[in-house]
């Protein structure tokens, strides 16, 4: 068992809101805050490997500029000078953006993602690039082309994925908060594995402009933080309509102040989809954590109703058809011609495509490109892709029916907690463990993972709350309430 987790935040404020308060009173400067975190990186990241790169000079330059804004009373927001770590698939101008893939080695973004512009407008400092499964395809971060990130609670175990770097650097005190992306659970599952909070917003509330596309109809950027309050703050900063993303919703801006609206646990109704307890491979520890959360809501007077998601069993199949189909199309742009790595052993154009892609893509990315190409290929489109899209309609309808009987759904995040490296290697088995997170992406709803308890090996387990379309206020209020009444216990 590693000791990395145990001495977190002796010197640094642990959250955005604590740091923001300390900056406001002058007890802390952005430079001091960033230096403290950089020291922490220097002492622990060789063990965790959560960051792919940290441009210390740039960070301290941005922090210095923030401090002088504050000194002159010209801070851009209460969060001016707050450092936020960024997943390696989100574009920050002039910084590398490699999606932890060799095919984008050395690529520097020529522009900022809209979420980055939104953060910068508020004075936020971009704080390093976090590791991930290559092109966000994976559930362990083992598919990064560069390094394996370790779970800070036990460095012999996976941090989850694909945003495993983001979750691990927060959990190990190397950053206050981070941005991740969630296509089928890539924010919520690593948050659960690392004992932090992860929010997947409603599809269309956060602009995807500047997020390297994996599966465009499912991808969504969201916060990974130490508590629900920070997730709410960061969500407010990054949400909002963007004309550069044609799938951006109008009036999608989230107001943090709305969380102060009245919230009464006694008038809340939580739905438990009965299929969730029958999932194959649900571990005893995770089941125990799930039952614990149900009883917490119940004992405080919250209404608990049984609901049904009758097509849950088909969610993984339809997801992996739809997501890989979209990925095979999105990743066709990486051909070694206009940007990225080119392998030109031969002077033939086709060979350049073949060699560059062979050399540039890793194992899982190739597997998904092949699967996606197959389901879209002539003769199979109707049998697979069209059927999966029709199933997506039924799954969305199931959620709509469930939400007519309750306000929020409660669920595990993953049927298992963080496991040792290399212990799950069968791709289908890994895909099946996305059963609780995938349906939310198919339906486009919002969901959050909140730390709940520990398993028998001392690894954290989260609980997922799922909200209806655009109902983040209710979702975050309930999550924050749960966080405040739940005793997560101690690592055994």
């Amino acid at each position: 068992m590693s000791t990395v987790q145990k001495f977190v935040f002796k010197h640094n404020p642990g959250t955005i809101h604590e740091a923001s308060d300390a900056l406001e009173t002058g007890d802390l400067s952005s430079v001091k805050l960033c230096e403290g975190l950089i020291d922490r990186i220097d002492s622990v990241d060789s063990e965790i490997n959560g960051f792919l790169s940290v441009d210390k000079d740039q960070i301290l330059e941005d922090a210095t500029a923030s401090d002088s804004r504050r000194k002159n009373g010209k801070e851009l927001s209460p969060y001016d000078g707050i450092p936020i770590a960024i997943k390696d698939n989100i574009s920050v101008k002039d910084q590398t953006c490699g999606c932890a893939s060799k095919i984008l080695e050395g690529f520097a973004s020529p522009y900022n993602a809209t979420v980055i512009n939104n953060l910068r407008k508020n004075g936020v400092v971009c704080f390093g690039r976090t590791n991930m499964d290559e092109f966000a395809m994976g559930s362990t971060t083992e598919f990064s082309a560069y390094r394996k990130t370790s779970n800070p609670w036990d460095v012999g175990r996976v941090p989850g994925g694909s945003s495993g770097g983001s979750a691990a650097v927060i959990s190990s005190g190397q950053a206050l908060a981070a941005l991740g992306s969630d296509t089928g659970g890539s924010i919520r599952q690593p948050a659960s594995f690392c004992g932090v909070v992860g929010l997947k917003p409603t599809y269309g509330r956060v602009s995807r402009y500047g997020l390297v596309a994996f599966a465009s109809s499912l991808d969504q950027i969201g916060p990974i933080t130490r508590d629900v309050e920070d997730a709410s703050i960061l969500f407010e900063l990054i949400s909002g309509h963007d004309e550069l993303d044609s799938t951006s919703l109008p009036k999608s801006n989230f107001n943090y102040a709305d969380l102060h609206d009245e919230f009464d646990i006694n008038s809340l109704k939580i739905g438990i989809p009965k299929e969730f307890l029958e999932v194959q491979g649900l571990s005893t520890d995770v089941k125990g954590a799930f039952e614990k959360s149900i009883s917490i809501f119940k004992s405080h007077g919250c209404g608990i109703v049984e609901v049904t998601l009758p097509n849950l069993a088909y969610a993984v199949s339809s997801y992996y058809i739809i997501a890989t189909a979209e990925a095979s199309s999105n990743l066709s742009r990486f051909d070694g011609i206009r940007y990225g790595n080119r392998v030109d052993k031969s002077s033939d154009l086709l060979d350049i495509y073949l060699d560059s892609r062979e050399n540039g893509f890793g194992e899982e990315v190739k597997r998904r490109i092949l699967l996606g190409t197959y389901v879209l290929s002539s003769g199979y489109y109707d049998a697979y892709y069209l059927r999966a899209q029709k199933m997506r309609t039924l799954i969305r309808d199931d959620f709509n029916k469930a939400f007519s009987a309750c306000d929020l759904l409660l669920s595990p995040v993953s049927p298992i907690s963080a496991y040792p490296f290399g212990s799950v290697s069968d791709p289908l088995q890994t895909y099946l463990s996305d059963i609780y997170t995938i349906p939310v992406n198919l339906a486009g709803n919002c969901a959050i993972s909140v730390p709940t308890s520990f398993d028998g090996d001392g690894m954290p387990i989260g609980t997922q709350l799922i909200g209806n379309f655009m109902e983040e206020v209710k979702l975050l209020q309930a999550a924050s309430w749960f966080e405040s009444v739940n005793d997560i216990g101690k690592q055994t």
Binding site: P110, Y203, S317, S347, L370, Y374, Y384, Q389, R392, T393
Partner: protein, 105 residues
């Protein structure tokens, strides 16, 4: 669907996807992809004939902007990421149309 998923021709699919694969990759991916497709056969057991497909979680209509001139990325900005550049103004690629075909043109 049963028969179809058993005869995934990985070599052919890899060609469509512009991926070179070695023999061990071909056999591994054949196994993996067949397993996923066999699992996905469950979808054929559901009557979906009256269901319309969903392409997006949100029903979106096409967004059309005004046809106004905007600011584009500068050429040098684009070329900074190009693997091979000619005269600081073009992305260099191998000959696509050979000199023979030029002669006949």
């Amino acid at each position: 669907m049963d028969e179809k998923s058993q005869d995934v021709d990985i070599k052919h699919i890899a060609g469509l996807a512009r991926l070179n694969l070695n023999d061990s990759e071909i056999s591994r991916y054949e196994t993996d992809i067949n397993a996923v497709l066999t699992h996905a056969e469950q979808l054929s057991k559901v009557d979906l004939s009256d269901v319309s497909p969903t392409a997006h979680a949100v029903s979106i209509t096409n967004v059309i902007r005004n046809d106004d001139e905007g600011v584009s990325m500068s050429r040098s900005n684009v070329l900074d990421n190009a693997p091979d550049v000619l005269d600081d103004e073009l992305i260099k690629v191998p000959v696509v149309i050979s000199s023979n075909s030029e002669d006949s043109a």
